[in-house]
Amino acid sequence: MNRITRSGAGLRLEAITFAYPGGASMRFDLTVEASDTVAIMGPSGSGKSTLLSLIAGFEMPASGRIVIGGEDVTLLPPHRRPVSMIFQENNLFAHLTVAQNVGLGRSPSLRLTEEDRAAVADAIAHTGLAGKEKRLPQALSGGERQRVALARVLVRERPVLLLDEPFASLGPALADEMLDLIAALHREQGMTVLMATHDPRDAERFSRTLVFVEGGTISAIGPTQKFLSGHGPAAFDRYLGAHRALR
C-alpha cells in the first residue's frame, strides 16, 4: 500500500474515455505536478465530478490510463489508490462519533493500535476539533463536519487529496476558514490537491493551477492568476461572466 507521507504525488490521466449509460462520451487528458494545488472549474454537468470520480476509482474508464506517483492505478479499487476524497456532504457516518469517523481512516474495521489512536487524536486537534471526539455528527455544525472529514484525510496520509465542492453547503465565511485550513495542511504535508468548485473566489484563494472543464473534456489549463485576471481563454471568461451574472 502507498504510505508516502509528507509529500505529494504527480498525477497523469492519459486518454481517459468514459460515458454514463445513455450519456455523451467524455475524454480527459491531464497532467498535474506533485504538490500542486488545482482548482477544477466549469459549468454544472460539464464533468468536474466525473473527473474526480475517475481519479478516485468510483468510476471505471472505458479506455486510457491513470498514473499516480509513477504507478498505474487504472485497475485498482478505490481503497488501494493513493487518494483521499471529501464530498459535498455525507462524509461522516451518522451513528459513529467524531473519533470513530476519523479512526475509520486508519482501519476500516476500527481495530486501532496505540499509534493509530495517537494519530487520530493528533488529527482531531490539528483540525480544531479537540474536545469534540465523542460527539455524533448531528451535534456538529456543517463546518465542523467537514473538519472531521479533513481530520480523516490527515490520518490516511495519502499523497493526493480530491475535494468535490466541499464548501458548497457552507456560508462564505466558513468556506474561507476551511480553505485556509486546507492551505495550512497543504503547506505542512505537501499533498497534491484537486478541488472542484463553482466559486472563482475559492480558486483564487487556494489554487495555483486552474483546470477548465467543458462538455466532458478539459478545454483549458493554466495558472489560476492568469485565468482569473482575464487573460485566460474566451470560453472561460464567458463561463465566469455567466456565473457572475447569476450571483
Binding site: S53, F87, L104, S109
Partner: protein, 544 residues
C-alpha cells in the same frame, strides 16, 4: 364591499367536509353494525360467552401468535441477507426482473398462492415423489404448520426484501464511495453502513409481516389442518359456519380485535408503513467492489430466494395449463362465478373510491380551514378512518354482521352487500395512499386560483381536480378491484350455492378434491388479479 378577515377558501369547504363526514358515517355504520351484532348477542347469553373462554380458545390464540412469530422470523431473517445481497450488487443481468417478480406475491390472491404451494409440496405435488424417495415413506403433503409457514414466507419474504432494500437505497451514494475508498470489506461495510439502516427499518418491517400473518385467513383456512393448526380468524369462521356457536365466535372476535389493535398501536407508534408498497429505483449507480467470495455467497442467497418465490408461481401456471381449461370455461358455474366476481369487484372498487376520495378531500379541506391551529377530531378521523379496517379485520366485520343479520332473515341473501362493503373498506388504506398525495399536491397548486376565480363544486371537479386525479383514481380502482376479486374472507362466511365468487368456487373445488379444476381456476384468477395490479402500477408510475 366589506373586507372580512377570513381564510380565502372558506366557502368551498362545506361540501367537501360534508362528503368526508358522510364517508366516515358509512364506515361507522359498517363497523358499528358488526359491534352491535357482538354486543347484542353477548348481552343475550354472556354466560355461554364466558364459558367459551376455555382451553380451546387459549390454544387457538397461542397458535395464532406462534405461527405469526415463526412466519415473521422465517421471512425477515433471510430477507436481510437477500436485500443486502441485492443492494451490494446494483447492476447484474435480471436484477430488475427479480424485483418485479418479488412484487408479484403482493398482487396474488392468497388462495392462488396456497394452491401453488400445494401443487408443489402437497401430497400429489410435483415434489411429492422426491420427498417420498428421500423420506422412504409416502409423502403426506405439507398441511398444518409447515404449509402455513411456507406460504406465509412465500408472501412475506419478497415483501420484506423490497422494504429492506428500499431502506438500503436511502444510504447516500457518497457513503458507499467512502466505504470503497476506506477499503471496507463486507463485514465492516455491514457494520458501519448497512446494519444501522436495517436496524432502523427492521421493527417496522417485522411488525407489518407479523400483522399480516396474525390476521391471515385464507392461507390458514386452506392449509391449516384441524384444531391443532387454527388461527383466531379461521376459528371464528368455523364457529359460525360449522358449529353455529355465536358465543364462541364473539369471544374469538374480541380476542382477535384486542390482538390486532395492540399490534397496530405498537406499529403506528413506530411510524411503520402498514400498506407495505414500495417503489424501487431500477439500477442505482453505486461504487461497490465486492470480492469473489462475497459475490458467490450473495448469488446463492438471491438464487435461493428466487427459486423459493418463483416455485409456487410456476406450479400455479403448470398445474393450471394442465387442467381442462376449455371445459372449465364452458361450465355454467364458472361463468356465473366470474360474472358475480367481476360485478362485485367493480362495485366494491367504486364504493372504495367514493369513500376514500371523500375522506381525502375532507381532510384537505379541514386542514386548509384551520390554518396553523391544531387538527380537529373530525380531521383526525378523516386522516385515520381508512385504517380502522386494519384493527377490525374483514372476517370479524363479516362475522359481526352475520350474527346480527340472522335475526333479520336469510343471512346468505345479504352476501352481495356484505362482500361489496367489506371489500371496499378493506381496500381503503391502499386507495387513500394512492389518492391523497396527488390530491393534496393539486390542491396546494390550485386552491387559491380556484377561490379567486370562483371555481367550485362540479366545475372544479371537472376542470381542476379530475385532470390531476385521473391516474391515481385509475390506480386505486384497479388495486381495489384486484383485492376484492381475490378475497376469500367475507364470501367464505356468506357464500352459498346462489352467490359464488371465483375464490369461493376455487375453495369449494379444492375442498372436494377436484384438483384439476381448482388449478385451472387458480391460474385464471391469478392472471386476472395480476393484470389489474399491473395496470394499477403502470398508471401509478406514469401519474408521478
Amino acid at each position: 364591499m366589506a373586507v372580512r378577515d377570513e381564510p380565502l377558501t372558506r366557502p368551498a369547504q362545506t361540501g367537501r367536509v360534508a362528503a368526508g363526514a358522510a364517508a366516515l358515517a358509512a364506515i361507522g355504520v359498517l363497523l358499528g353494525g358488526a359491534l352491535l351484532g357482538l354486543v347484542q348477542e353477548a348481552a343475550h347469553g354472556w354466560e355461554s360467552a364466558a364459558a367459551a373462554f376455555d382451553l380451546y380458545l387459549l390454544r387457538v390464540a397461542r397458535f395464532t401468535l406462534w405461527q405469526a412469530a415463526l412466519s415473521t422470523l422465517l421471512s425477515v431473517a433471510p430477507a436481510v441477507l437477500v436485500a443486502r445481497a441485492l443492494a451490494r450488487h446494483p447492476r447484474f443481468f435480471g436484477r430488475a426482473f427479480i424485483l418485479q417478480l418479488f412484487a408479484v406475491p403482493l398482487a396474488l390472491p392468497a388462495i392462488v398462492a396456497a394452491l401453488g404451494v400445494l401443487a408443489l409440496y402437497g401430497r400429489a405435488g410435483y415434489f411429492a415423489p422426491v420427498f417420498t424417495a428421500l423420506a422412504g415413506e409416502r409423502w403426506q403433503g405439507i398441511y398444518g404448520l409447515p404449509g402455513i409457514l411456507v406460504t406465509h414466507v412465500f408472501f412475506n419474504l419478497p415483501l420484506a426484501v423490497r422494504l429492506l432494500l428500499a431502506a438500503l437505497e436511502t444510504v447516500p451514494a457518497d457513503q458507499w464511495r467512502l466505504s470503497a475508498q476506506l477499503g471496507m470489506g463486507p463485514i465492516a461495510s455491514f457494520r458501519f453502513i448497512e446494519w444501522p439502516v436495517l436496524r432502523a427499518a427492521l421493527p417496522g418491517v417485522a411488525g407489518l409481516v407479523f400483522m399480516l400473518c396474525a390476521t391471515s385467513f385464507t392461507i390458514v383456512l386452506t392449509l391449516g389442518g384441524g384444531p391443532r393448526a387454527t388461527t383466531l380468524e379461521v376459528a371464528i369462521y368455523q364457529a359460525l359456519r360449522f358449529d353455529f356457536d355465536p358465543a364462541r365466535a364473539i369471544v374469538l372476535m374480541l380476542v382477535q380485535v384486542a390482538l390486532t389493535g395492540t399490534v397496530v398501536a405498537i406499529l403506528s407508534r413506530m411510524g411503520a408503513s402498514m400498506t407495505g408498497d414500495t417503489s424501487l429505483p431500477v439500477a442505482p449507480r453505486r461504487a461497490l467492489f465486492p470480492g469473489r467470495g462475497e459475490t458467490s455467497l450473495n448469488a446463492v442467497f438471491i438464487l435461493a430466494a428466487l427459486v423459493f418465490v418463483a416455485g409456487p408461481m410456476a406450479a400455479v401456471v403448470a398445474a393450471g395449463l394442465a387442467a381442462e381449461l376449455l371445459r372449465l370455461a364452458g361450465e355454467q358455474a364458472v361463468q356465473a362465478a366470474t360474472a358475480t366476481s367481476l360485478l362485485l369487484a367493480i362495485l366494491a372498487a367504486s364504493l372504495c373510491l367514493i369513500l376514500s376520495a371523500a375522506l381525502v378531500v375532507a381532510r384537505r379541506a379541514l386542514e386548509l380551514a384551520r390554518g396553523a391551529a391544531k387538527p380537529s377530531l373530525l380531521e383526525m378521523a378523516a386522516d385515520t378512518g381508512a385504517a380502522l379496517v386494519l384493527i377490525v379485520p374483514p372476517v370479524v366485520i363479516g362475522a359481526g354482521w352475520f350474527i346480527l343479520l340472522r335475526h333479520v332473515g336469510d343471512v346468505f341473501a345479504f352476501a352481495p352487500v356484505m362482500v361489496v362493503t367489506v371489500n371496499a373498506v378493506m381496500a381503503m388504506p391502499f386507495a387513500v395512499r394512492a389518492l391523497r398525495p396527488a390530491y393534496d399536491a393539486a390542491s396546494a397548486r390550485h386552491e387559491r386560483l380556484c377561490a379567486a376565480l370562483g371555481i367550485a363544486g362540479w366545475n372544479r371537479l371537472r376542470f381542476v381536480d379530475w385532470p390531476a386525479m385521473k391516474r391515481p383514481v385509475a390506480t386505486a380502482f384497479a388495486f381495489a378491484m384486484a383485492l376484492s376479486l381475490g378475497d376469500l374472507g367475507v364470501i367464505a362466511l356468506f357464500g352459498s350455492e346462489s352467490v359464488q365468487t371465483l375464490p369461493f368456487l376455487l375453495f369449494q373445488r379444492m375442498g372436494s378434491y377436484r384438483t384439476d379444476d381448482a388449478a385451472g381456476l387458480a391460474l385464471f384468477l391469478g392472471v386476472l388479479c395480476l393484470a389489474l395490479m399491473f395496470l394499477a402500477a403502470h398508471w401509478g408510475r406514469e401519474g408521478r
